[in-house]
Symmetry: C3
Subunit: 307 residues, 3 copies
């Protein structure tokens, strides 16, 4: 594997190999000195055309735990302002001598183009509404640790603005690779117009599915993407799709709650639910570091087994 | 000691233990390779809700001298903009696996709340008008190196906008812990309404105290905090409270001059005074790194004596 | 050598010594683990009053390859906003304990003043319209690797906004130190009014010199610096001075193409030319890391031969 651009490129065995490696790195993170020299002398650069401190810090932490050097290219303060093309920006960064480039871009497909231009490994850290594969891998990894090695038969509801969410797409694909059955739960205006044969079902009423699911995966409502045309009011949306304590009480007692963050506590997901015993929200963040270590190591490590 | 939130929490012995440890680290900084592996594998994150390159760099330098990994969470470019609460921001950062969080926040008490929420050690790097304990420790450390182990009987004037200054409060508390006698020197409008039994005296005329003090500690005038109601003009303020060369000449020859920075040379403090033989301004900065090393090591070091 | 402030300070032997050292570091960069411990325990800080991700990343990469610690002082988010002077900013940074300061400033001569104030080594990373010596050294290094140890007799055209370009000045000086003959090619309004006895010739028509040159060195047009008074339209400028594929075809087959970046592909320099077999554009970037390693090591290394 040279790049990690989308979950769509990975079959079940590839996903499982990455998650197995993540298990090993999660053990490393529990050590007193949670570092390994696996990527000593390697350089990992983050190139973010959209702000995301959370994802960027997670990747940088992962790289440092592997003893790689890290560089951060903040597009706001860069040559990009002087009219430089994406091609020249990435070629210039590559020419400084890097091994992996973590790319977030507002345009779907941008990381794929970058991968065609450079010899370094490219990791998609979110491209437009397309994919966010490491988020999907950490979600699958987190759920697998609680459900056993397989997600066969696990019923997952992904709730929220599916249409605009790269997380919804990537996480759905990754969950289904491992055998889960995914339902998108959203008003019709927030479901993609074409589901392109994706292995999902669709529900418009959260209350219809609450009692049957093993996982409630809540998406952040991206208010900046919700036009007047799509939803009468945000309040109405929350009334129908917010994961309130009352709704959580109608789920099976062992239903897990997940969220990719950042969360809007209250209307989107109740505080008692976020902080409740079935919430995996913090584990997702911790596991994100282990999963990104596994991805980095699989792409630019020298092979062999680490840790 | 788990956190460093305020000087008010520390008794004289606790302050002296930190300053003794700072002495050891100042020796480390004088070495050809000024590093020790004391915090190898530890991660220190800075979370600054107010800009302060100076304080942030000092903490990051201290962490690197101890071989810790550092991460910087710039709030301006973060999830905070997407509506995330302080609670979720710090819980998320903690979940990535950190050992200490250095917090600056515009709200008094914010670091205390953070300390209640997370297991990592919290260091207050300035909270509203409340406290800035590492500044106070570096001030006390700097003065102690010139006055001997005790500040008993040392007379200190803290001059300027006392009301709005967390430095004034923390440094006064720390100096008095070590035996110094502190006078706040400011117009009545810039003195806190309630001094709450603080062990200080107040003077409204700088010229009254000039000849008696052992230390003139000048505060930065924070113009953004001076409304029309408080002071007729900045010019009048400087005329009465600026540490001019003429005023400095009326101090005892061995009176020290200190300033927490950044300084406004000229009206606030004369260039000849800043650069004069009794100025401790640069030493304060250098000592700040040693003191922050001592704080970090005391909070998250594994115990035992270092360096 | 204590500082690197301008090429004007360096004679041919000094330039050649730096380029010889750069050769050694370029070999280091080709290793599997491209790092040496030459500057372990040293701290290199970048202080940029003008944005330049490209140059800053190159210096930071060079410092990390030498195992130095790096700090970055972003002026936009700094004490400077609070009214601190350049003197106090650099004195404060120095007091934290640094070995080298890489300074970019909009005012010509600023790095020279910094060098008078502090004991640490100062490297000019671009000062106003004055000099950008490491760019010049990497340009000379890149050309020397293709032309043999000497540039004697090599004919170079530097094309574009000479008047406003510190790169034009530094690179011209460095090329001529090594024996090259430089021609400035620009409309009269973009040539400095006084050439001060510089060893250059001037041409106003690119097509006149195309067939005779060994190197076409294209400058970025800094649109923000082009007033209406200087040029009727940017389009007319590009028509006369853009390095089109058609013009490139009229150069000798072995004429090299160089550009300091960032480039505006298309009007300024044609895509076929940038990506053609005689383009040294990417090599310039790669070599920049090796040259900056050599500069850092020469200034603050402990002497002796490295790598």
């Amino acid at each position: 594997m040279k790049h990690l651009l989308s979950i769509e490129d990975l079959d079940r065995a590839a996903v499982e190999a990455l998650l197995d490696q993540s298990d090993a790195f999660l053990d490393v993170l529990a050590r007193d000195i949670p570092k390994v020299p696996a990527l000593r002398g390697k350089t990992v650069v983050s190139l973010f055309y959209e702000e995301s401190t959370r994802t960027r810090l997670s990747f940088e932490t992962a790289a440092k735990r592997l003893s790689a050097d890290t560089m951060s290219f903040a597009v706001g303060s860069s040559s990009v302002k002087k009219g430089e093309s994406l091609l020249d920006t990435v070629k210039t960064i590559e020419a400084m001598g890097i091994d992996a480039m973590v790319v977030r871009h507002h345009a779907a497909g941008a990381p794929h183009r970058v991968a065609q231009w450079i010899d370094a490994s490219v990791i998609n850290a979110g491209d437009g509404r397309h994919e966010h594969p490491t988020q999907a891998l950490l979600d699958a990894f987190t759920l697998r640790r609680h459900r056993g090695p397989s997600l066969d038969g696990c019923r997952v509801a992904i709730i929220g603005d599916i249409r605009n969410s790269r997380v919804a797409r990537s996480t759905m694909l990754c969950f289904t690779r491992l055998g889960a059955r995914v339902t998108f739960v959203a008003p019709p205006t927030l479901i993609p117009e074409r589901l392109d044969g994706w292995p999902v079902t669709v529900a418009h009423d959260l209350d219809d599915v609450l009692g049957e699911i093993d996982v409630a995966y809540v998406l952040r409502v991206q208010e900046e993407r919700l036009g007047q045309a799509l939803l009468p009011t945000l309040r109405e949306y929350y009334a129908r799709y917010g994961l309130t304590a009352e709704r959580a009480a109608r789920m099976k007692p062992d239903t897990f709650v997940m969220h990719p963050g950042p969360m809007i506590r209250g209307p989107e997901i109740a505080t008692e639910v976020v902080d409740g015993p079935r919430s995996l929200v913090r584990e997702q963040v911790t596991n994100g570091v282990a999963v990104r270590m596994a991805v980095l190591w699989s792409l630019i490590g020298s092979g062999g087994h680490v840790a």
